[in-house]
């Protein structure tokens, strides 16, 4: 066109970071919570705990004591930021590796191990009863969060639904539908895209031609922000903002947390098949714990001795949880029937009897 054409819409996506990879502050407008060093130390300790747990779970899988396990190595800051900003009565709808969020919300490591250890009782966990359990069919949880948010809105409850989704999952119809309905109905929904660079073997750039994943919310009319997902302070600030807006009726938000999957996709995967060692090495320099430790040490709020002592405490706690998991007896055969309906219909009851009788055969 030769003459200028009026602009119908424009958008920008901001990128939020407070702590760089070396643990140096890059902004001087620290949010209030971040001035409370004790709280930062506590969150750092929780991140370490998650990391100790993660390594232990992989070891259990390798020795045949756990089924396939999806590690969360590298995602700790994103998860702790979500967990520590949500209120107890907010609703969390995870995919399958958001352990840092869930531990903070009261889920026990032993319950998580039960889930990956092939025992349904893990999903009947000690976390909030209104939180959803692990969701393996990618993206489907986002619409559950949207529906939960609608329930809160209808009942005029000041509660927010939070879902997490991967970079791969951001391609799913369900995810995009969730954003759309949140925008259309102004729902209290916070969708966090945990962009760890990979969806199993498929790199982020193969998912979409969009420059950022955050901007997927623009089309839905949501506020969108890209954040350094390895920076606990930035992620926490972003979550605080998103939850507050949503809670006060200002609608949903999309946060793209840029992090990196430092592990294989799951214990059934071998990432060396499809990504370079160099890429992983580079990512280790940006990982979340290292920078938080450097920052805390620069404030004289944390020492190597404290780190050693805390790690020992984590190991002790995780070992006790692992033992509790390993000592859990399998459910009886009838357990596979008992939650199929609120009340078992006669024909299913008959099958249940059949199954019990078969177990007791001589």
């Amino acid at each position: 066109m030769e003459k200028p054409v009026p602009i119908a819409a424009t958008f920008e996506i901001e990128y939020l970071q407070y702590l760089d990879a070396e643990g140096k502050l890059v902004r001087d407008d620290l949010p209030a919570f971040a001035r409370d060093t004790k709280q930062l130390v506590k969150l750092y300790q929780e991140m370490l705990m998650v990391r100790v747990f993660d390594a232990k779970a992989i070891a259990l899988q390798r020795t045949g004591k756990l089924g396939t396990y999806a590690p969360c190595l590298g995602h700790e800051a994103t998860y702790l930021a979500i967990g520590s900003t949500m209120q107890e009565d907010d609703c969390f709808a995870p995919s399958y590796r958001e352990y840092g969020v869930q531990f903070h919300r009261g889920v026990k490591p032993r319950e998580l191990l039960m889930y990956w250890g092939g025992d349904e009782r893990g999903s009947n966990f000690s976390g909030p009863a209104h939180d959803f359990a692990w969701c393996v069919p990618i993206g489907t949880q986002c619409l559950h969060a949207a529906g939960s948010a609608l329930a809160f809105k209808i009942r005029k409850e000041p509660r927010v639904a939070v879902c997490t989704i991967g970079d791969g999952g951001s391609s799913k119809a369900d995810f995009n539908s969730a954003l759309n309905v949140a925008g259309a109905m102004s729902l209290p929904l916070v969708a966090v895209i945990v962009n760890n660079g990979w969806a199993i073997s498929v790199p982020r750039d193969a998912q979409t031609g969009a420059r950022t994943l955050a901007q997927k919310g623009i089309a839905a009319g949501l506020e969108c922000l890209q954040v350094d997902g390895n920076d606990l302070i930035a992620m926490r600030a972003a979550m605080d903002h998103a939850l507050k807006r949503a809670r006060h009726g200002h609608g949903g938000m999309v946060i793209e947390a840029v992090t990196y999957r430092l592990s294989d996709h799951t214990t059934a995967d071998d990432a060396r098949r499809y990504r370079s060692e160099q890429e992983v090495k580079d990512a280790w320099a940006r990982e979340p714990l290292r920078r938080m430790k450097a920052y805390l040490m620069s404030l004289n709020a944390w020492t190597e001795d404290e780190e050693t002592a805390w790690k020992a405490q984590c190991t002790k706690y995780v070992d006790a949880e692992v033992n509790a998991y390993l000592e859990t007896k399998a459910q009886p055969v009838e357990a596979m029937f008992d939650y199929t309906y609120a009340e078992l219909p006669a024909d299913l009851l008959a099958q249940r009897e059949e199954a019990i009788a078969w177990e007791k055969r001589t």
Partner: protein, 326 residues
């Protein structure tokens, strides 16, 4: 000649057909560099390039729908669902379009596509990775549903499925992906779709099954033989359309039939076979038909899953129940 596993037979069939028919493309999640999470498409990217071995964005609606579009425009897509439990996002496209396009357009357009998926339980996998959902598809007019149970049949039936002018759901019993090897000549010879395979001749009882349960059923036949009972074993292989004649012929001989499948019992595909026996073979039957199946529950997570799945012992017991009637 090389001995290959069932999954290698899948790869071999895909490679043969891609080499001989340039319209064949493979698409799905992780099918490229990674060669599929089970390695069914291993090496295809190197041989045929990224235009024909397509890593899609992670979205089953996309995979289901673009497969219909590709096929309608003269390509022969072979789409992969990473697991049978993730095919549901493709259902609307499969049921509303793939299965109907020929009928809708009075034959003007068609969907010569294959949807492959690893299928079934027993590998200690997480939730949604262990389902036997074939009956969802056998109730859809216009689809073929194929479930091979050996390397040779995987090779021959996959070739036939790709060449078939209509949409085919091709389920691969993942529990026996690497169970054993056999010689499978890479000669491009397809096996007939729509026939059952008699794997073992017998005269006392007919055991009908498909997928990974073929293993337990053959073992059950061995166990019965030790007690002097002669069991005929039929691998249905193509569930839809069903070759009932082969089953009927066997039951005419034995008068007894046990149907084995790992899907839930109610409205499982065994119910269709049982109904046809009631309709066409009632007077050939000496004993009521027995079904050894999963229960009408979700397949449990893996600590209990073997208690859900049919077993050699359950099959033997069912066969003996039919033999107790005379």
């Amino acid at each position: 000649m090389a001995q290959i596993t069932l999954i290698e037979a899948v790869t071999q069939a895909l490679a043969w057909e891609m080499k001989h028919d340039p319209s064949v493309v493979v698409l799905g999640e992780d099918v490229g560099v990674n060669g599929g999470v089970f390695r069914a498409t291993l090496g295809l990217l190197d041989k045929f390039g990224a235009e024909r071995v397509i890593d899609t964005p992670l979205d089953e609606t996309t995979i289901g729908g673009i497969t219909v579009g590709l096929a309608a425009q003269g390509m022969k897509p072979v789409a992969e669902a990473q697991f049978e439990g993730f095919i549901y996002g493709m259902l609307e496209q499969i049921i509303c379009h793939a299965a109907r396009l020929r009928n809708r357009t009075r034959g003007r357009m068609s969907v010569p596509a294959v949807w492959r998926a690893p299928w079934g339980g027993g590998i200690r996998a997480p939730e949604h990775h262990s389902e036997a959902n074939e009956a969802l598809f056998t109730n859809v007019p216009g689809l073929r549903v194929v479930l091979p149970s050996s390397p040779g049949r995987a090779y021959g039936l996959l070739l036939a499925s790709i060449r078939d002018p209509d949409p085919v759901i091709f389920f691969e019993p993942k529990r026996i992906y690497r169970q054993y090897k056999e010689e499978v000549p890479d000669d491009g010879e397809a096996l007939p779709l729509d026939v059952c395979f008699v794997l073992r001749d017998g005269s006392d009882v007919t055991l009908v099954t498909w997928g990974a349960q073929v293993k337990e059923t053959l073992e059950a036949a061995d166990a019965l033989a030790e007690e002097g009972i002669s069991a005929e074993v039929i691998d249905v292989a193509t569930l839809k359309p069903l070759d009932f004649d082969t089953i009927h012929e066997s039951v005419r001989k034995t008068g007894r039939c046990v149907i084995v499948h790992e899907a839930p019992r109610t409205a499982g595909f065994g119910a269709e076979i049982s109904a046809r026996l009631a309709e066409h073979a009632l007077y050939d039957l000496v004993a009521p038909v027995e079904r050894v199946t999963g229960y009408d529950t979700h397949i449990p997570l893996f600590r209990l899953e073997m208690k859900y799945l049919p077993s050699v012992e359950k099959i033997v017991a069912a066969a003996k129940r039919t033999l107790a009637v005379s």
